[in-house]
Amino acid sequence: MSVVEAMHDAHQAFVGWAGALGGGLRAMRRESTNWKIALIDGPNMNNLGPKGRDQRMYGAIPSLAALQDGLQAFASGLGTTLEPYHSDHEGDILGFIYGARMDAFLINPAGLNRPGAPTRDALRDTGKPFVELHFANISANRAVWPNGTVVSRDAAGVVMGMREYTYVSALFGLVSALDAGGIFA
């Protein structure tokens, strides 16, 4: 099997698994509202994959497209709607946030962990809750991130360290919190 075929199979497998899991978790929800949630991946996240980012940190996920398609399938299974977005340019991300009509946001700031104050401000000004995500535990290295990123202080929540399952976990947690109502008041 060629590398391209293996990547394709891994992509399809992740999407199939995530969609089915979302369907299984749907029955565990307390409400059935079709929440609209954006998933923003910041600079460098398009470099996910075996020939890209360090797999000891990012794991075996084959590509950003696989991650986005998988999370979209998971959201769909849950009975919600996910709109994925990626850019290497912060200005584009600001434009996306201001144009989005969402109930909540998930964001992996990635290359904006330190310089992302404009992104944080834009998210805060939407008045909608957002949850910050990271594949790895960025605070494991105290010297670099002693107390979160520039985004963390305005986030409703932060989920990190469980590679691609961080995204699955955070999306379910966010949907459960939205279902519960009032948590973000």
């Binding site: 698994w17 089915a20 899991l21 369907g23 299984g24 978790l25 029955a27 565990m28 360090d54 797999q55 000891r56 940190m57 794991g59 075996a60 949850v131 790895a136 535990n137 605070s139 494991a140 290295n141 105290r142 002693p146 107390n147 979160g148 963390s152 202080r153 305005d154 986030a155 409703a156 929540g157 932060v158 989920v159 990190m160 360290g161 469980m162 590679r163 399952y165 961080t166 699955v168 976990s169 955070a170 379910f172 947690g173 966010l174 459960s176 919190a177 519960a180 948590i183």
Partner: protein, 180 residues
């Protein structure tokens, strides 16, 4: 087929992971705490919610809560041989613990730190984070349920936390990866 059976069957693995859920000082008084940070759910509500998801996922989640750090670290030692992973809400011990964090690190099992509120937003630096594989915070009891799901899926993955099979990118020893 029941819902529970269906959800468990959708996991990548079928092992009935034994998850120890540890709740630190003040957490067993949930329901009487500041509702802006902790919500209105009682301790019993939260335990029931964790058990509902554990049963559906086909794993065991044993909840232990104490106001005494010594009891919490004793619980870690008592379960070290059988636990597959820990979910830890340090409660008031987040910024003060030492023995408890050392006990967890010595198990060589993955720990996901859970915080009902966003500690970072309040300038609190947790002593549990550096040795945890991951963290889930800010969504009250939903952070705990989300962490349970994330930990189970991560344990199922033989390239990540699964203890039965190693890969060059595995982190089955529970230590977080730190970029050199």
């Amino acid at each position: 087929m029941t819902t529970a059976t269906t959800l468990a069957a959708l996991r990548k693995g079928q092992e009935a992971w034994r998850i120890e859920v540890l709740l630190g000082p003040n957490m067993k008084h949930l329901g009487k705490r500041d509702p802006r940070l902790f919500g209105a759910a009682s301790y019993e509500d939260v335990v029931a919610e964790v058990e509902r998801f554990a049963a559906a996922l086909g794993v065991t989640a044993s909840v232990f809560a104490s106001d005494y750090e010594g009891e919490l670290l004793q619980r870690v030692h008592a379960k070290a041989a059988t636990a597959d992973g820990y979910l830890v809400e340090p409660g008031g011990a987040a910024t003060t613990a030492q023995g408890w964090t050392h006990a967890l690190a010595e198990t060589k099992k993955p720990v996901v730190e859970v915080n009902f509120y966003n500690l970072t937003a309040r300038g609190e630096i947790s002593l549990f984070t550096p040795s945890a594989i991951g963290r889930s915070m800010g969504l009250r009891q939903h952070s705990l349920v989300a962490a349970l799901i994330g930990l189970v899926l991560s344990l199922d993955d033989t390239t990540f936390l699964n203890p039965r099979e190693q890969s060059p990118i595995s982190r089955s020893g529970g230590a977080p990866y730190v970029r050199g």
